[in-house]
Amino acid sequence: MTANTTSAVKPAAAFTRTGGAPSARRKMKSFYPSWFFLPAMVLYVVFFAVPTFASFYFSLTRWSLFNIQFIGFANFVEFFQDPQLVNGFIHTFEYGFVTSAVKVVLGLLFALLLTGPVIGRGYLRAVIFFPVLVSTIGVGIMWKNLLDPFHGMVNAVLGFFHLGQPGWFTDPKLALMTIAGVDIWKGVGIATLIFMAGIVAIPQDYYEAARLDGSGSWQIFRSITLPLVRPAMGTVIILSLIGGLRSFDIIWATTGGGPGFTSDVIASVIYKEYQAGFYGLSTAGNVILFLVVTVIMVPISAFLNRREVDL
């Protein structure tokens, strides 16, 4: 029962894992004749399988669209020697793990708040979810303007209170974490939603029994909510980690990987190599990204799946 994470571009695989009830898994026999799958299969082969295998070949070549030359593993060697690419790798992990961790913590806190008895709960739920609905590029451009070091609204407010006015996207030390912050702002709504669904699904009987036994709030949270919300947590971790590791659009819209290379991640490096016309090298980068995401996600997914069954 290994999770279906064969492709980095299909985080939806994680959804079907938690969505599929045990009863549906039991019977694998199809209701349809096999030729019924033919159109989907043809589309899948032509647009997914063939390009995937073609990319393995192209990653071993120096390719200029006009000429192609087989060069073995030189692209991969280049990818790991270039300091800018190595940095991109490190930044990718920092970014992926920070955004994922903060989304889990914040998402859980917001979910607890928004499933509890608060005034204007429906309104607050909508507000938390709104950023998810906005285009990522739009979010990036908006924050780029809000956080402009000299003309942005945020620094104007900070300046009014005589506080420091950091160059959010332009200071090499801050840029990557500022983008992570924007990513969290945009993505925490999804995490909250999944946690809310998880919390609501916990039967009330447990809580009533715990209260009768005289448990405090912290004890209830630790011993009931947290263990029983674990399937939701697994989904949040997998979704946000995959999203973080291959994140590109928000970085491109805010800093373009800059200043210099200080906020470059694998995806933005690949895009720049592609822009520069290093088609073979950028394909090699995509193969590496694919392998890295698979290597990280398969064990995590398997681990989280096992815990789910244990419960």
């Binding site: 200029s64 090499p172 373009g256 800059g258 200043p259 210099g260 290379f261 520069a276």
Partner: protein
């Protein structure tokens, strides 16, 4: 389960197959119809791909199309735009490789042109009548050993220090001819409370001027540098003198605190406004951007002049010259469309075409073709550029003498110019970037 009829299943399958067939048909190239008469037989419509999607590029392309249609009513030209910078490079390569290029496209000359594999993708224009009027320098940057492929569009222009002439006069400063004089001037400007050296990393490409704009100085020190660099000679590297100077200078203006505070986020357009008003006094830049000043500060266009980025010694100080971009026709354009496209390209440098270039493009230096003349109303920067050319104190930018230009130079120089890495580190990184590009181009001596 929902019961389904056999008919519905068949329809679904056929529908899917039909969808796939249409999608695949979209990939094949259009029909080709070759005939070789000298004038178009009936009404023809051709497409022009503009040189970018900025207001100046769009306005110029539309003006060309309108003017050309008035002179050739049988031929209609429609305009498409494209992104500038590396996104544009990529789009042009992809469209050429897939046979989807517009009938005429405007693009850079020099190393970017060479990366298009012109012999395979472009129609040679060697035998067109206007070719004999094109300057030798320009011809060399749109040619391969097999032919000439492009017509000039726009003027040549200098890359050096754009400076505010009024402030220079007020502070009693002289045009610097050595790097030390430049630094001394900059200290005086800073003491007067103005921005001495403007940098605008908000537009990343603008970071490259200390390196690219001083190439004429390197050529003056070592005339063979460019050919040795192309041949992978270990002495002609950016991590060695004289080329290392450009990186050192980029780092130095930052270390000495001569730059504007908002260098990391300021954009080119806003920087030019500050230069025009005299808030900022010196801006290492290419002269072609003067067109933007006309849009925002029309009254101050003539307050801006240009001098070369100075070398260590005055004898080596030269203005680096950029050749204009070209108009090209892809191999996929044939028959009547090819005749129309050739007519359009020739028309660009006709009297009517030159008038449009003078009006919307704004000359920043002399033309590369004898048919077009710079008008007396041209901005002051054009006269400054012309002066250095006439005195023989100019040289071509590296991208017109060597096919190799590493794609990451702008980012590397931002690192150096913001103090993230040292000049030596940046230069070494760029040498590696150059190596990657040379290998990609399949040049001899790099594998």
């Amino acid at each position: 389960m929902i019961p389904r009829t056999r008919k519905a299943r068949v329809t679904a399958v056929l529908g899917g197959a039909a969808l796939l067939a249409t999608a695949l048909a979209g990939c094949s190239s259009g029909s080709s119809n070759s005939s070789s008469s000298s004038s178009v037989s009936g009404p023809v419509t051709i497409k022009l791909l503009a040189g970018g999607n900025d207001p100046v590029s769009i306005a110029t392309a539309n003006a060309y199309v309108k003017g050309f249609h008035a002179a050739n009513p049988k031929i209609t030209v429609t305009v498409e735009t494209r992104p500038g910078g590396t996104d544009g490079d990529n789009l042009i390569k992809t469209r050429l490789a897939t046979g989807n290029m517009d009938d005429v496209f405007l693009y850079n000359s020099g190393s970017l042109f060479q990366a298009l594999d012109p012999d395979k993708t472009l129609t040679p224009l060697t035998n067109e009548p206007w070719v004999k009027n094109v300057s030798k320098d320009f011809k060399s940057v749109v040619s391969t050993p097999n032919g000439v492929y492009g017509a000039p569009v726009g003027t040549t222009f200098g890359g050096g220090v754009m400076y505010n002439k009024k402030v220079y006069a007020q502070l009693g400063l002289k045009i610097p001819t050595t790097w030390n004089e430049f630094i001394a001037n900059s200290e005086k400007i800073k003491a007067a409370g103005k921005v001495a050296v403007l940098q605008t990393y908000g537009d990343t490409w603008t970071s490259q001027l200390f390196v690219l704009g001083s190439f004429a100085d390197i050529s003056a020190v070592d005339p063979k540098w460019a050919s040795e660099y192309t041949a992978n000679n270990p002495n002609a590297k950016y991590s060695k003198e004289p080329a290392l100077d450009g990186f050192i200078h980029t780092a130095q203006v930052h270390q000495l605190g001569l730059m504007n505070k908002d260098f990391a986020s300021l954009t080119n357009a806003n920087g030019l406004k500050e230069l025009a008003t005299g808030e900022a006094v010196q801006y290492p830049m290419i002269g072609v951007v003067i067109g933007n000043v006309l849009q925002t500060n029309p009254k101050q266009v003539n307050d801006i002049g240009m001098f070369p980025l100075p070398a260590a010694s005055a004898a080596d100080t030269r203005l680096t010259i950029w050749e204009p971009g070209g108009a090209y026709i892809p191999k996929t354009t044939t028959g009547d469309k090819l005749i129309a496209a050739k007519k359009f390209v020739a028309w660009l440098n006709s009297p009517a075409g030159c008038a449009i270039q003078n009006k919307t493009g704004l000359p920043a230096g002399p033309y590369a073709i004898t048919q077009c003349k710079v008008p007396s109303s041209a901005p002051a920067i054009a006269a400054d550029t012309q002066k250095y050319i006439d005195e023989g104190k100019s040289g071509l930018a590296l991208e017109f003498i060597s096919p190799i230009k590493g794609p990451n130079l702008e980012k590397i120089l931002i690192q150096v110019g913001s103090g993230i890495s040292t000049a030596a580190q940046g230069a070494a990184l760029y040498d590696n970037d150059v190596k990657k590009q040379a290998q990609q181009l399949g040049l001899k001596g790099w594998s």
